[in-house]
């Protein structure tokens, strides 16, 4: 190896150290005790969190026609949504729901960065509530740090004990609330109180209890930084047009402490280096280093900075929602000039129309007909040809129905055997039966003739389903 390449390689490798020096990330060595300050974004965050997660706790208790209004009945493989019952056969709509969820996340993130993380995510919300409880019981961040460092005492045990008890209560409630989306809520409570849950019920409850307690109580922002894949995915979805909490470097720098006696000769920016933005940050980042992976864009630093700017008599917005374009002095674009967002919205629209189509075309019955393949047909003693069909009828109504079976093939002398007495189809699940179709072979003009089957309710012909299959015969 010659001298030149050696130097070059060493140089390129050592440059990563410079990168590292500028890299600020909270690695969880110290618990973050964030200060809670009132403000515009604080208020928004309080409401958005509740708007999304209060229904999580309450909706399962909603009743509709004496049944749980929304119930993911996994055991019986049915999903109830008010009057609508979705069976596994219609589960393709779930993929569209997931698509909408993903695209909404993409669209929102492309416009205003990690809105989900900052204002809605369960990790953020539960951590926020857990630290609120901590704040109420143990006091403000300074008091909490002092308590953490203090030697064990009766007072410390009492405070910590109460805090953990309340945390566990909330964690338990979370586990219960999750569970009752999948089983009848009132029945679940009854079983829970009598310690009579099935094994899987206990496992789910334990998982969510410990999951909540550990993730919101201890792991907190570390989950966002090290555990959560969406944090990283969303990180790359922003571009120069995306607005996110940004420190206005041009206005703030050079930063300096506020001095008594007013201005000195040295030039000074608007940032008074008070560290309020860092102190209120739930993930412990310093926004003045720019956008970084720890930032969940919750806007709490904006509240803090605005409050300080008000106090020192300077205009608000030293930290504000701004795009990279705005900060670098480029012309900013309107929202409709952001093609990426429009593509996301288009995909959402397509998926939504798919769901609307699906829900309006659920039908009360569905039919599948599988022709026998070995043998395709049987020659009968009277010279006719017989085909065998396996019928699978899914009755989506709420009662068992007798169905009339008919077939339309245009073949003369066609006989339908096996449905002389209308078969009974059971509600909420599939019913199978076998049907034979017999046609005199002299009437068969081709090997394959399309045959159109129809099943309809004997009492209510409006409940019906159709399926087209083939009638097979010998080469004429």
């Amino acid at each position: 190896m010659n001298e030149a390449t050696d130097n070059k390689e060493t140089g390129s490798v050592t440059s990563i150290y410079h990168e590292f020096e500028a890299w600020q990330v909270n690695r969880g060595e110290k618990t973050i005790h964030a200060k809670r300050m009132p403000g515009f974004f604080r208020t928004i965050k309080n409401y958005t969190q509740l708007a999304l997660w209060l229904p999580f706790f309450l909706v399962p208790y909603l009743r509709w026609n004496d049944k749980q209004a929304i119930l993911f009945d996994i055991q019986n493989r049915q999903f109830h949504f008010f009057d609508i019952m979705v069976l596994p056969q219609d589960i393709w709509m779930l993929s569209l729901v997931l698509l909408i969820a993903a695209m909404t996340l993409f669209a929102v993130t492309s416009v205003a960065s990690r809105v989900w993380c900052g204002y809605f995510c369960f990790q953020t919300a539960w951590t926020d509530w857990f630290t609120w409880i901590e704040d109420k019981i143990e006091g403000n961040p300074a008091a909490r740090r002092k308590l953490d460092d203090a030697p064990m005492s009766l007072d410390k045990i009492k405070k910590k004990g109460i805090k953990h008890a309340v945390w566990m209560l909330l964690a338990l409630l979370t586990g219960i609330s999750f569970s009752v989306w999948f089983v009848d809520a009132y029945e679940y409570w009854n079983n829970l109180i009598h310690l009579n849950l099935p094994k899987v019920g206990w496992v789910v409850l334990a998982m969510f209890f410990f999951g909540t307690y550990i993730l919101a109580g201890f792991l907190r922002e570390q989950a966002c930084i090290w555990l959560c894949p969406y944090a990283r995915i969303q990180g790359v979805m922003g571009d120069a047009q995306t607005i996110l909490p940004t420190y206005d470097t041009a206005r703030g720098e050079p930063r300096g402490k506020l001095r008594k006696g007013g201005e000195t000769g040295a030039p000074q920016g608007d940032c008074i280096d008070c560290f309020q933005c860092v102190q209120v940050c739930p993930t412990g980042v310093d926004i003045r280093h720019g956008q970084q992976l720890g930032c969940i864009t919750c806007g709490l630093c904006i509240d803090a900075c605005d409050a300080i700017m008000d106090k020192v008599g300077k205009p608000r917005g030293l930290i504000r929602y701004a795009s990279l374009d705005e900060m670098s002095g480029k012309p900013t674009h309107k929202l409709y000039q952001h093609p990426r967002t429009l593509v996301y919205l288009a995909i959402i629209l397509v998926a939504m129309s798919g769901i609307v189509y699906g829900l309006t075309h659920l039908g009360a019955m569905s039919l599948k007909v599988l022709p026998e393949r070995q043998p395709l047909f049987v020659q009968m003693s009277d010279g006719s040809v017989q085909n065998k069909y396996a019928f699978k009828v899914l009755n989506k109504t709420d009662k068992d129905i007798h169905v009339k079976v008919t077939a339309e093939s245009g073949l003369e002398g066609q006989m339908l055997i096996g449905a002389e007495t209308p078969p009974l189809t059971h509600h909420g699940r599939g019913t199978s039966f076998t049907i034979f179709v017999k046609v005199p072979s002299k009437n068969l003009k081709q090997e394959i003739t399309p045959i159109h089957f129809r099943v309809e309710g004997v009492e209510d012909p409006a409940v019906f389903a159709e399926y087209t299959s083939n009638f097979n015969g010998p080469k004429p």
Binding site: E372, Q374, P375, V378, Q379, M380, S381, D382, G383, Q386, K388, P423, L424, T431, S432, F433, T434, F436
Partner: protein, 287 residues
């Protein structure tokens, strides 16, 4: 060189390779040590809980304190399956095949388990789904999916056949009929119209196949007027059958259905299942 590798105060193990390579004497991380300890404990527990140590060359071994064996696990799994099937199997015990056939849900259950039974016990001769299996002399056993039955196609007839077996007989005619007579009869049968030749009645064919040539279920004689053949419907095949007979020793056609009741291989419920399964191939006749 060595000043480039400042250990930052961390002691090294004291070994030095190649003049400047040394190992830090760092403690492994706590989580790693915890994992190692937990794994070690897990090994011991696992070792004691499950069968592990061969005790001697006699083949005995330490059975483990958990009492686990593969066969008990299999039995436990099987009991889960039996529980699901139980509610159907209980019903089947006291039902006739005809009663099973009248119940759509039971018929569906029975045809599913019948598929396996048929594959294990019947398909070797009758073919999968009863399509028939042939060797160079023709079909080994009758097709079961058409509506031509030697011994009757009602559900109880089929059940009786499975339980008791069947063995028809046709005498060989090589010593009774001339070659020309056999040829005439074979041509008439192949045309589907055996009564067209007076030989059919004169030579006593009607005794078994009936005056009209349509066979008799009581004897298991074949219907010679339809387009469905027990052995081989070609002219040569028909001549062979007339010449050599059925089930009368070497050279004759072999057509024996064993009795599954006598063989003791199938339970009563299984034979009922098979009867319904065969009936549902498409040729079963209503009572």
């Amino acid at each position: 060189m060595s000043d480039k590798h400042d250990a930052g105060g961390v002691p090294t193990t004291g070994h030095v390779w190649d003049g400047d390579l040394a190992d830090f004497a760092n403690q492994p991380p706590k989580w790693w040590m915890l994992g190692l300890t937990a794994s070690a404990i897990w090994c011991v527990v696992y070792f004691l809980y499950y069968p592990s140590i061969p005790v001697s060359n006699t083949g005995s071994f330490f059975a483990g304190i958990g009492g686990w064996t593969a066969i008990t696990e299999m039995e436990a799994d099987k009991s889960v399956v039996d529980e699901v099937r139980g509610k159907y199997e209980d019903k089947l015990k006291d039902m006739t095949p005809a009663a099973i056939l009248a119940d759509n849900e039971l018929t569906e259950y029975v045809t599913r388990s019948g598929k396996v039974l048929f594959g294990d016990n019947c398909a070797a001769c009758h073919g999968t789904n009863g399509v028939g299996a042939a060797d160079k002399l023709g079909l080994i056993a009758p097709k079961l999916n058409d509506d031509d039955w030697l011994y009757g196609g009602k559900i109880d007839d089929i059940h009786t056949t499975i339980m008791g077996g069947r063995q028809g007989v046709m005498t060989p005619h090589k010593d009774v009929l001339s070659a020309a007579e056999i040829d005439t009869l074979a041509n008439a049968v192949a045309a589907g119209n055996p009564t067209s030749t007076p030989l059919f009645a004169e030579k006593g064919c009607t005794a078994c196949h009936g005056e009209d040539g349509k066979g008799m279920a009581a004897l298991g004689s074949a219907n010679l007027t339809d387009g469905i053949w027990r052995f081989d419907g070609s002219l040569e095949g028909i001549k062979y059958t007339i010449t050599n007979g059925v089930n009368v020793g070497p050279g004759s056609r072999d057509a024996v259905m064993p009795s599954f009741q006598a063989a003791g291989k199938l339970s009563d419920a299984e034979m009922k299942k098979l009867a319904v399964y065969v009936y549902k191939f498409g040729g079963g006749q209503a009572n």
